[in-house]
């Protein structure tokens, strides 16, 4: 059959060009693959969910609890269909797998990005792929956020309300922007169809296109080589070919990963729509966004209230905390490859301890995001009597500056310690070798 196909499609050229791509063997190189597998699982489960989901926020009678003839129990159709999906065989499981995989996809992408950053793999010639990766991260987060609005329970309703408020907080064009993005004044009659369109067509389309570009550029430029490749064969591409050696490894990883996700989904429920109930005027106590947006939420919680009027546009704490700050953070991440001034192409993954400042900036950046996420728990910290209303902001603001600074200097200190230990070891082994030679 190979020959039959080859005569017609020249698949041997495909084989030479793509399927023999060398994959370096190192566990940290699996992180990007896990992100890709998550995307595939999300698309498959998403298709199955879309078969039973009803994208509409018109009110329908709740068939599980219809109420009385005088006072019918009306709920949004989207919420009703989420209840129905839960009642299907394995329907709840399907939703959980989709939700868990989405969380894991973001996590794997973030850790993948940390690997790239700490080993200097973003350097010339791979800047373009770092920027595409950044876009992938942003669009993954957007897809995830639109996804958890779709069940349209009270939690989702409150979330989309806040998202609408954030969009509307942009000075000058905010209210037009929010209305255009969410189909009119909140909650517009078309809000769920609109978000459904984003979630299943627009955003996944962008994600797939970016993923394709990410892969093709990676194949064209080759992976950064791990340090062992330098020792084995300097300036040569070392690794196992995609077909057939890397493929079974990937398949095994996929199965293992899918197994873990199923295990998680079986035992840990996510987003119980029945518990939250349909949209209502009663807010949900201690509502939180997903973990990867908690830092924005935390920043909003500790920024004091203010409002500035500039040429008719209102700049408030919400705009600063939820749009300006994340833009600055993302901008800094985009700028990372431009801060590197080396003219030569980088072939080998670098040992992070050889670049202490880069390492320390990275760890203190992570520390900043983590402490801002902790600030997202401000109401819980106050209710738990860890902090009081009076001192919460002060304490959290001090931590926001203190923790990253401490992380920075302790990282530098630890790296210095490691280096001096290593140098001492080298001196000692040299001395031993010299002694042995005598």
């Amino acid at each position: 059959m190979n020959q039959w196909l080859d005569e017609r499609l020249h698949i041997s050229r495909l084989n030479d060009k793509f399927l023999r791509k060398a994959f370096p063997v190192h566990h940290s190189f699996f992180l990007g693959e896990i992100t890709l597998f998550s995307l595939i699982i999300l698309i498959i489960t998403g298709i199955v969910l879309a078969l039973s989901y009803e994208p509409s926020n018109s009110l329908v009678v709740n068939s599980f609890d219809p109420g009385t003839a005088e006072k019918q129990n009306l709920i949004p159709a989207a919420y009703h269909s989420a209840l129905k999906i839960n009642a299907m065989p394995f329907g709840d499981m399907l939703r959980r797998v989709h939700h868990w995989t989405a969380n894991i996809m973001v996590a794997a992408a973030v850790i993948h990005m940390m690997r790239i950053y700490f080993t200097g793999a973003f350097k010339k010639p791979r800047e373009i792929n770092w920027w595409i990766g950044m876009l992938l991260l942003i669009f993954t987060a957007l897809t995830a956020v639109t996804g958890y609005i779709l069940p349209y329970d009270n939690y989702a309703y409150n979330t989309v309300k806040v998202v609408y408020g954030i969009a509307a907080s942009v000075p000058w064009v905010g209210s037009w922007l929010a209305q255009a993005a969410f189909a009119g004044n909140f909650p517009g009659d078309g809000i769920i169809p609109r978000i459904y369109g984003y979630h299943i067509m627009l955003l996944p389309g962008i994600l797939l296109a970016l993923t394709g570009a990410h892969m093709l550029i990676m194949i064209k430029q080759k992976h950064t080589q791990p340090q062992y490749a330098k020792r084995i064969a300097y300036k040569k591409i070392v690794g196992v070919p995609l077909l057939t050696q890397q493929t079974p490894i990937m398949l095994m990883l996929t199965l293992l990963f899918a197994g873990i996700v199923l295990l998680f989904s079986a035992f840990i429920p996510v987003h119980p729509v029945e518990f939250f109930g349909p949209p209502s005027t009663t807010p949900i106590n201690n509502i939180k966004p997903d973990w990867y947006l908690l830092w924005v939420f935390g920043a909003l919680a500790i920024i004091p209230s203010f409002e500035m009027n500039i040429l008719g546009g209102v700049i408030g704490s919400e705009f600063v905390g939820a749009i300006l700050l994340p833009t600055m953070v993302i901008g800094a991440m985009f700028a990372v490859p431009m801060l590197d001034r080396s003219k030569d192409n980088n072939y080998y993954a670098e040992n992070p301890t050889n670049h202490p400042v880069r390492l320390a900036i990275g760890t203190s950046f992570m520390a900043l995001l983590i402490i801002l996420s902790v600030a997202g728990y401000k109401p819980d910290l106050i209710s738990g009597n860890v902090l009081t209303t009076a001192n919460a902001n002060t304490v959290l603001w001090i931590l926001v500056f203190l923790v990253p600074a401490v992380t920075y200097f302790s990282t530098i200190g630890i790296v210095r310690g490691i280096r001096s230990l290593r140098e001492a070891d080298e001196r000692e082994s040299l001395a031993h070798a010299a002694a042995a030679d005598d």
């Binding site: 408020g165 004044n185 009663t282 919680a301 209230s305």
Partner: protein, 220 residues
């Protein structure tokens, strides 16, 4: 000889193609922007989306008692959420919940506890006071503070308000106080005495003035 040298055409082939492509791209982008404009549907002010107007009856907003008129005896230092209930064109009862930002917070405090900057003439005997329940920060429904009795806290970003002092911001990110709604007693129940005294979420001052005019014009 120079007389017969080949003349350049008035426009080169390259320039012509560049200009044509530029024009196509411009027209394309402008029409795309036009199409994107349709993403924003027109807002129609229907009666169920109007803010509370004079004469509206305040009814319960909680799911179990929705639509039942609020009685003064049911009020306390615990927040009671209410919808304004007006009338449609035929004169039938109509709860104005088409705009979820119409939800109201009602409190009753012992006499003397409510102080300025609350508009005392808009309360009932300085005891019962009504505010917009929508946080001026991100538009969440504000709840009772679980730590301090008689205070309000928004569950979204923990903005805090003091309902005894005109719902001024006492903590967190909200930019301004909750808007107070003038109310009057009508037997056992509560009726709205007029528009919100300040601009409620999500209106700016000028938008709020425009909305009030639009409502007055439609009801006149």
């Amino acid at each position: 000889m120079t007389r017969y040298r080949k003349q350049d055409p008035e426009i080169t082939r390259r320039r012509f193609i560049n200009a044509a492509m530029g024009t196509t791209a411009t027209v394309g982008i402008v029409s795309l922007v036009g199409v994107l404009g349709t993403a924003n549907p027109v807002f129609r002010l229907t009666r169920d989306k109007m803010p509370p107007v004079e004469g509206d009856i305040l009814v319960h907003a909680s799911a179990s008692k929705e639509g039942e008129p609020i009685k003064i005896s049911e009020l306390s230092e615990q927040l009671v959420r209410a919808w304004p209930m007006g009338k449609d064109k035929e004169g039938n009862k109509l709860i104005r919940k088409g705009d979820p930002n119409n939800v109201l917070a009602i409190y009753r405090f012992p006499k003397g506890q409510i102080v300025a900057p609350t508009h005392l003439d808009a309360t009932i005997d300085g005891e019962i006071v009504a505010y917009s329940d929508i946080c001026t920060h991100a538009g969440c429904s504000v709840s009772d503070d679980d730590q301090q009795e008689g205070q309000m806290k928004c569950p979204c970003h923990s903005g805090q308000y003091d309902p005894k002092r005109g719902c001024i911001v006492v903590g967190g990110p909200p930019p301004r106080a909750l808007a107070q709604l003038p109310i009057k007693q009508d037997g056992e129940g509560l009726v709205v005495g007029g528009f919100f005294l300040e601009n409620p979420y999500p209106f700016t001052e000028s938008e709020w003035e425009a909305r009030k005019e639009a409502v007055k014009a439609q009801l006149a």
